[in-house]
């Protein structure tokens, strides 16, 4: 427990994404596009976790996530939690949550969907949150977690 606190408090201002299931760590890093980032970033993988066995953790200094980013993380790492750090203190901590509708983040897996033919914002209704099952607002195709792809 002390080890975890130490990691979280190591940045002055920013965000810690914790409890990422180990396999999804790089996926979350990709969502946040940290590759091109100038911020201080720490990525931890295969850290020990009581609830997950092995977990991933990402710390980003000087950056706070948008709602869209948090929603996107929820799609790929539904067990993740977000810690907002201000002046070395965790000022807010919450579990990510899959929203009821997903707008403009992911692509429809149906190649014959109008959203893939014409430039229009995608929109999905969430049918099940775990395991994730969504329905395209336009073509009504139901898509499972394994076919979810970012735009």
């Amino acid at each position: 427990m002390t080890g975890k606190t130490l990691k979280i408090s190591a940045i002055m201002d920013g965000t810690v994404i914790d409890h990422i299931s180990a396999a999804n760590t790089f996926r979350v890093a990709e969502i946040l596009n940290i590759k091109g980032s100038a911020n201080v970033v720490t990525v931890g993988m295969n850290l020990e976790s009581k609830s997950l066995g092995k977990k991933g953790l990402i710390k980003i200094g000087g950056r706070f996530l948008t709602k869209q980013e948090v929603d996107t993380i929820a799609l790929f790492a539904p067990e993740a939690s977000i810690n907002i750090i201000k002046n070395f203190e965790v000022t807010k901590k919450f579990r990510v949550e899959v929203p009821d509708t997903i707008n403009g983040i992911i692509k429809c897996a149906n190649p014959n969907c109008i959203t893939n033919a014409e430039r229009t914002k995608t929109n999905f209704h969430v049918l099940d949150k775990n395991p994730l099952k969504i329905k395209c607002h336009y073509c009504e195709r139901v898509i499972g977690k394994e076919n979810i792809e970012l735009i």
Partner: protein, 305 residues
Amino acid sequence: MEFRNRDIISIKDFTKDEILYVLKTAKKLESRPNPSLMKGRVMASLFFEPSTRTRLSFESAMTRLGGQVIGFSEPGNTSLKKGETLWDTIKMAEQYADVIVMRHPVEGAARLAAEASGVPIINGGDGANQHPTQTLLDLYTIQKAKGKIDGLNIGFLGDLKYGRTVHSLSTALTHFNSTLYLISPEALKMPESYTEELDRKKVKYHEESDLMKVIGKLDVLYATRIQKERFPDPMEYKKYAGVYKLDKSMLPHFKPTLKIMHPLPRVDEIHPELDNTPHALYFEQAGNGITVRQALLALVTGRIK
């Protein structure tokens, strides 16, 4: 019930009461035709993909109500060839018409068109997705022939895997208390996403590959064509084509009141020798399409409340 300015995109958007209201309106229009109900109104008929039956049925419906029809029956001669988006085509058409009927090969096209349009859109089929007016006319046909939609044994026969009309009708029937018999070869079974929905809505259904085992129980048999274009391998198609053929030899097994429906076109699933028996309902079903589409046109334009 307010239907004015409403888009008709998917049967899934309808509550049971709304379905029944459309059927009631159709019945009224059938018993008291009104040849000037849509006088001075224009329907745009935008067929981005050819369809004889649906297009003619809509155009006939509008014309018989005294309205005018503009449009195209295939995209060949339109600005789409010049790269115009669907969005822009609809934006243009809404200036010219009071209601837009469209068919499009891409799924979700009608839903997007409805977002672009200020006048109501009626979906005449979007790819493999939805064809709600077909479902409403199927329900109307059942109700008219049987006096009810509840408490019937309704069989679906043939290609239940790809048959869009079967999927939509089974979805609509979840509002009613009928028992479904899903009769198909193993390879053309109803997709799980639809049977799961039947389970969720507690609809009684049986899956069966042998038609003769259940034929005697049925009040309605909805036959479908096994579509050649769905099979990449012609050998595979041959295996299933003609696996179910309804003909006179089966008459002793039918309930005397059995009604046979088919969305048409048929190939050889129903022998023409059945056409003149009291079981044949398929041509009447196609005719009911006019009535139901008239009701929808009048409702969404606010000519009938």
